[in-house]
């Protein structure tokens, strides 16, 4: 997919993320909008996954460690044909399988996440299995920047390097915010690149909203043979809706009717500029 096509897709995804969060009156808006361009490139350019053959043992795996931004994952999975998009009308309603975090009851979801700090270990295990079975699949996992203080991430980072998992790629959605404030104020993890490099990873920085940079980075993995790859994606929480951008309250803020219509209008303008 060309960069322009990807850009158009992202507008459509953003619109849907907002639609379902608005309808459900719940969801993690800011972090879904910060990671959607990354998911877009993964599912439309990188991952070897096919909704018609999802159980293939050779498929690439995507494990979303920052499970709370499940709306981004749901709209992408729906657009890839894993389930009818109309299912999302039931998001977070009584007896729905579409809950506020990824669950395997939803087709296309690899692991049940939502408690932070699990995705990297799950990915390491899946990647070790790939090596043992001499399979070519790769494992991708998306972490939040606020999620990094969970100790399990660093335990998994050690294992990944120890097992030379160059079939593993972790992505940090570095939007610089979490619930209570700026990540640098809550628990500073910078310089995160130097930390992972010291742990034996190969690291690259990208603008997480730049399709060319995202494609180039993913096309280049493994960055180094015998090392796990880390993509630090610099993003903007709430990206695409100006009044949400980098605003703490949109972590799990739900737009009012007026805010929703303003957001749609802004996305409409963005779409026109891509025509």
């Amino acid at each position: 997919m060309s960069e322009k096509e990807l850009a158009r897709k992202s507008v459509e995804y953003r619109r849907k993320i907002l639609k379902y969060i608005y309808q459900a009156k719940a969801g993690h808006t800011g972090g879904s909008l910060s990671c959607i361009d990354i998911l877009n490139v993964l599912y439309n350019h990188v991952l070897n996954v096919d909704s018609a053959d999802f159980s293939s043992p050779d498929r690439d795996r995507y494990i979303q460690s920052k499970g709370h931004t499940v709306e981004a994952l749901y709209v992408v999975l729906a657009s890839k044909g894993f389930f009818p998009e109309s299912d999302l009308e039931t998001l977070c309603t009584y007896q729905s399988h579409y809950i506020g975090h990824p669950t395997r009851k939803v087709r296309g979801v690899e692991q049940n996440t939502g408690a932070l700090g699990h995705g990297l270990s799950l990915s390491v295990g899946t990647a070790i299995a790939g090596k043992l079975d001499k399979k070519d699949y790769r494992v991708f996992t998306l972490l939040g920047d606020g999620e990094l203080p969970e100790g399990s991430n660093w335990e998994a980072a050690l294992s990944a390097a120890h097992y030379k998992l160059d079939n593993l790629c972790a992505i940090i959605d570095k939007n610089s915010l979490q619930i209570s404030g700026a990540t640098s104020d809550v628990c500073n993890t910078d310089p995160v690149d130097a930390k992972f490099e010291a742990f034996g990873w190969a690291v690259r920085h990208v603008d997480g909203h730049d399709f060319e940079q995202l494609k180039a980075a993913f096309d280049a993995i493994p960055f180094e043979k015998g090392k796990p790859s880390l993509v630090i994606a610099h993003t903007i929480k709430g990206k695409g809706v100006s009044y949400m951008e980098s605003q703490l309250k949109w972590h799990h803020g739900v737009p009012s009717e007026e805010q929703y219509s303003d957001a749609l209008q802004e996305l409409g303008v963005a779409e026109e500029s891509l025509a």
Partner: protein, 321 residues
């Protein structure tokens, strides 16, 4: 361990709000009170606490194991520590720190499990804590308390602040009505009778006491059955004396909790009653051992019969034998 009620405005609000206000009142006169959070000050209603007492809040980021370990260290140095995090993560992720660093090492940390049970509703099982009573009951040297209303909350926090032993306090998110307007005393380990009746006893805890009380009113009106209702705020140590008194009436006993049917209030009561030789008709209302249905807390309650109608129906059936 008795406390008398002080003049705090017990409006009808979420217990967690009362927790935060009480802690602020105490912190004004006590520099040793320290709150420890894991990106949880917002959900813990502690933003005003952090603003007023910036030197009395320690933030560790999203790292619950570290939260509990750090809290134990602070407590060992004489601080009165409240470690605040969602109950699901606090009591699962940091269980070993609770067991070893807090309970076993006797560091008197006050563990505050917020948004407990199914308060997080449709966020799903990662965010529910239906295991906390069960796992924590098996750990020696840990008091387990689930306050039902604003009064119990305020009293429990005051007692906890001064307690020289570890305490786990479990809170939901819902606005809670006062169960009784004229209550004057609260003690850890002593169940609170909030309604007197003659035909059966409903023993509930935390946010399920309110629907239990409503069910008792409904039973009286519709079936002429009068129920005693107990807020069994302390799950451990359980109030055996009160259980004996209740059982001696020979009437049926129904327990209600926002927890797995396994290992919680119901099984704790059943175990004591059976071993003490009581043979009352007995039934546990709790969340069954299955993939929990999706919904809001209220929808999940209704689905599993933890509601005015559900509790009343089960009680009615139990009384018919």
């Amino acid at each position: 361990m008795e406390a008398t009620i002080e003049n705090i405005a017990l409006k009808h609000q979420a217990n967690l709000e009362v927790f935060s206000q009480t802690l602020q009142t105490l912190a004004e006169h006590d520099r040793d009170i320290i709150v420890v959070t894991s990106d949880s000050r917002g959900s813990g209603k502690l933003v005003p606490f952090g603003q007023k007492f910036p030197d009395q809040i320690v933030e560790v980021g999203i790292a619950e194991q570290n939260l509990v370990g750090v809290s134990a260290g602070l407590a060992s140095a004489g601080k009165k520590v409240f470690a605040v995090s969602p109950a699901c993560f606090l009591t699962a992720r940091a269980l070993e720190q609770i067991k070893n660093d807090v309970a076993y090492s006797d560091n008197p940390v006050k563990l505050i499990g917020i948004s407990a049970g199914v308060s997080y509703g449709a966020l799903g099982s990662t965010h529910h804590s239906l295991h906390d009573f069960a796992v924590l009951r098996t750990i020696n040297n840990l008091l387990i308390v689930a306050p039902a209303d604003n009064f119990e909350t305020e009293q429990a926090i005051r007692l906890a602040a001064e307690a020289d032993f570890p305490v786990y306090l479990r809170f939901g998110k819902k606005v809670m009505e006062l169960l009784s307007e004229d209550e004057k005393t609260f003690e850890f380990g002593k169940g609170r009778i909030v309604r007197e009746g003659a035909d059966l006893t409903i023993i509930a805890t935390g946010e399920t006491v309110a629907p239990a009380l409503q069910a008792a009113e409904k039973l009286e009106k519709e079936s002429g059955l009068s129920a005693t209702v107990v807020s069994m705020h302390t799950i451990k140590p359980l109030d055996y004396n009160l259980l004996d008194e209740i059982a001696l009436s020979g009437k049926p006993i129904l327990t209600v909790e926002e927890h797995s049917i396994y290992g919680g209030l119901g099984e704790a009561c059943a175990s004591y009653l059976l071993q003490a030789g009581h043979r009352n008709a007995f039934k546990i209302i709790a969340i069954p051992d299955e993939y929990t249905v999706t919904g809001s807390q209220q929808e999940i309650f209704t689905h599993y019969g933890i509601s005015e109608a559900g509790i009343a129906a089960t009680a009615h059936k139990l009384c018919q034998g």
